[in-house]
């Protein structure tokens, strides 16, 4: 049969079949997997480059923002916003404020600190330490109460905010009261009950003070 058909024809056909099979196999077993792998590598590399670009832009933004915010941040640090709450110092400070503001009496109680979670504090690896401060104040004049409050808000390290404020006029200015003042007594005309929240931001690793005891100066 092959002789009838012609050996040359059969050989050419076989050669063509071999060529076809070779190309087909190389397409399936080499080119396609190779392209797929290369595309995967390219995709991963692009993602890495994109991430790198983002990091770079972020770093540049950070540098730009740091230029603008570093002074404010240093101010915060100096103010003690990022420090642990030193209750001994706070107690001394409250006593000094009491004297400065001429309180007839002042009872302060720094209660156990609570930890408040905050997304921004968490991003920085910190959380907010919040200590309620209960104040029972008695003064001759309500202005003294305001001054006391002003000094507390502006002297304690960190941030102090009012949670509750109640002030009552206990008596009127009478002749008896004036005589008592002149004799050196300190009669109280105004009393106030305050609850303040004292907050600072501390690193999460330093949260061993979770159950810190309250403190009354």
């Amino acid at each position: 049969m092959i002789e009838d058909i012609g050996t040359k024809r059969v050989l050419i056909l076989l050669l063509l079949i071999v060529v076809n099979v070779t190309i087909f196999v190389s397409l399936g077993s080499y080119f396609k997997p190779e392209i797929r792998g290369a595309k995967t590598r390219l995709s991963a590399l692009k993602e890495e480059a994109s991430q790198q670009l983002q990091d770079l832009e972020q770093a540049r933004l950070e540098i730009e923002q740091l230029d603008q915010t570093i002074e404010s941040f240093n101010g915060l640090k100096e103010q003690g916003f990022l420090d642990n709450q030193d209750r001994r110092n706070a107690s001394d400070l409250l006593q000094r404020i009491e004297k400065i503001t001429n309180m007839v009496s002042a009872r302060a109680q720094i209660q156990s600190a609570q930890f408040e979670d905050d997304i921004h504090a968490s991003k920085a690896g910190h959380h907010i330490m919040a200590s309620p401060i209960k104040l029972d104040l008695q003064a001759l004049d309500d202005v003294d109460i305001y001054r006391y409050l002003y000094f507390v808000e502006n002297s304690l390290p960190g941030h102090v905010s009012i949670d509750k404020f109640s002030m009552i006029r206990d008596g009127d200015v009478t002749a008896e009261l004036l005589r008592a003042v002149s004799s050196g007594d300190d009669p109280a005309l105004v009393s106030a009950e305050l609850t303040l929240i004292w907050r600072t931001m501390i690193p999460i690793e330093e949260d061993g003070s979770d159950n810190e005891e309250g403190y009354t100066p």
Binding site: A124, G125, F165
Partner: protein, 556 residues
């Protein structure tokens, strides 16, 4: 003759009754390579060698010039036969006409039978058949054993009819009239005198008669030709020839024989005696190594070799048996050639794509390396600050949030002090932050999420809302209307000092609509009751006063 792109060179095996003439394709023409008698003991060897050596194994065509060829004209009506069935019907008629001849074929002729009153329109076909002779088998065997490609078997008179028509046109210098008859006469080297009669390009009659050697006496040769010509004319007359139709006589011979013949032919005709060289030039054929100008067989071989397709290919079983597998092989070859081309194109595309992707990988890698380098430089700059950027940014945000939530009590007290009349005193002030309804609504909308994970919208206002209550007492002897007027005026002044706040007198003095507990004590509680009656209450709700002076002077 120009080489055709569509017709490959062929070797022509011309079968005559006495011998086989081998014409080999050479360049753009043919040449007579060998003539071998059928009885030659080395027939097979010589034929095979000649075709392979001189003919370079090119495809072979058998051109039958033997005496025994059978023709018949058949008129087949068109009516009642569909186009699809026509060929099979004609084949059946062909088989019926020549039942004992294995090689048959039919050819539609130009002569059409018009529709008449008595009969339907008909087509005329030329039926042809040749016997399966011993010499034919002998030739086919040689071809097949030599592994040569036998492409077809043709009948010389049928294939030559077009040549005769074309040659007549060239000699007459005009297209022959469709009615005119043309007789082509040529002597073959080992055959006899071949006369081919055509009308309107179709074969009308052919005769092969033995002849003396034409290289002898031209006059004698002419007489013999005239004798055969007259016999042919008697046949032609029976086929309907009329002198008024016109007659062209073309004789292939040398000049001397031609002159002799022209004088003796004695018929009213356009007579042309032409040599093989002149005829081949006129037909655009190329004949190599032409040794005799008066043998017409080489002219026929050149004509058939130059035609891309045969006019009437004969079906031969021996050829079909080989041709079918060859056709399959050829089809597969073309198929694999095409698929190979397509796959190669695909491979080129894939290769190109791979190169492109690899090139992109290199580009991206370079870009990434550059970005990494730049990033490291920026990191160094950040390190120079000596701070943690996240701590800087987030601590400032936390502080900002706390500041916004901080109730600026001292500014509020300052505003209240400004609004107070010199005669009025406040008995008590209570102040507490008020829950932010907007914030509460937002938090309830994200119920189920851990609060630390919630990042409030950037445009969210953290304004510290608060609620303050002022209590003002009057002596029981005070004029109620006057006191209430003072309270109202005080609230109006407060509103002016705190424009964005809600200022509301919750209770005027002697106002029983108030919701606080009313103490009724029959055992001497009148003083409390009176004190309660002369107590006014003012509610303040709002956020931190905007741009209020926060100096202590204002409070004092």
């Amino acid at each position: 003759m120009a080489i055709s792109l569509f017709s490959q060179q062929k070797n022509i095996l011309m079968l005559s009754d006495d011998a086989l003439s081998i014409f080999v394709g050479q360049g753009a023409g043919v040449k007579l390579a060998k003539t071998i008698e059928w009885t030659d003991p080395d027939f097979e060897f010589i034929v095979g060698k000649t075709i392979n050596d001189e003919g370079k194994g090119k495809p072979v065509v058998i051109l039958n010039d033997m005496l025994e060829q059978h023709y018949r004209k058949e008129k087949i009506t068109r009516a009642g036969v569909g186009m699809m069935d026509r060929n099979s019907m004609i084949r059946r008629k062909l088989m019926a006409a020549f039942p004992s001849y294995p090689m048959r074929a039919f050819l539609p002729l130009k002569d059409k039978g018009a529709k008449t009153k008595t009969g339907a329109a008909a087509d005329t076909y030329l039926f042809a058949a040749i016997p399966d002779s011993g010499v034919f088998k002998q030739t086919v065997d040689v071809v097949q054993k030599g592994g040569l490609n036998l492409t077809g078997t043709h009948l010389l008179p049928v294939e030559a009819s077009d040549m005769v028509q074309q040659l007549a046109g060239k000699l007459l210098k005009k297209k022959p009239s469709p009615k005119s008859w043309t007789i082509f006469i040529g002597q073959h080297r080992h055959g006899g005198l071949r006369q081919i009669v055509t009308r309107n390009g179709d074969l009308a009659l052919t005769r092969m008669t033995p002849m003396h050697d034409m290289n002898g006496d031209p006059a004698h040769w002419a007489r013999e030709v005239v004798q055969e010509f007259k016999a042919t004319m008697s046949y032609v007359s029976r086929f309907g020839y009329e002198p008024m139709d016109g007659l062209n006589v073309i004789v292939v011979c040398d000049d001397e024989s031609g002159v002799e013949l022209e004088q003796t032919i004695g018929a009213e005709s356009d007579f042309f005696a032409i040599s093989v060289s002149d005829a081949s030039k006129m037909l655009g054929l190329k004949i190599d190594d032409l040794d005799q100008e008066n043998y017409a067989d080489v002219l026929h071989a050149a004509w058939v070799a130059g035609r891309p397709r045969a006019k009437l290919p004969m079906r031969v079983q021996e050829i079909d048996r080989v041709e079918r597998p060859r056709a399959v092989i050829a089809f597969l070859t073309v198929l694999f050639l095409c698929s190979g081309g397509y796959l190669a194109y695909q491979a080129m595309g894939e290769f190109s794509e791979l190169r492109e992707v690899q090139s992109n990988i290199s580009k991206v890698a370079i870009r990434k390396a550059r970005l990494t380098q730049e990033y490291e430089v920026e990191l160094e700059r950040i390190k120079e600050f000596g701070v943690d950027f996240a701590l800087v940014q987030n601590s400032l945000r936390v502080k900002d949030m706390l500041d916004k939530q901080h109730v600026d009590s001292l500014s509020l007290f300052s505003a209240i002090a400004k609004a107070l009349d010199g005669n009025m005193t406040i008995d008590s002030i209570t102040l507490e932050p008020k829950k932010d309804d907007k914030l509460e609504a937002f938090l309830s909308s994200v119920e189920g999420m851990e609060l630390p994970l919630i990042d409030l919208p950037d445009d969210f206002r953290y304004d510290a809302l608060y609620r303050a209550m002022l209590k003002i007492s009057y002596p029981t002897t005070a004029n109620v209307d006057r006191a209430n007027r003072e309270i109202r005026q005080f609230s109006e002044r407060l509103q002016k000092e705190l424009p964005d706040h809600l200022i509301k007198v919750e209770k005027y003095i002697k106002d029983y609509a108030y919701t606080e507990n009313v103490v009724i004590d029959s055992a001497g509680g009148d003083e409390d009751k009176l004190a309660q009656d002369f107590m006014a209450q003012i509610l303040i709700e709002g956020a931190n006063p905007q741009a209020q002076p926060s100096d202590e002077e204002g409070v004092q």
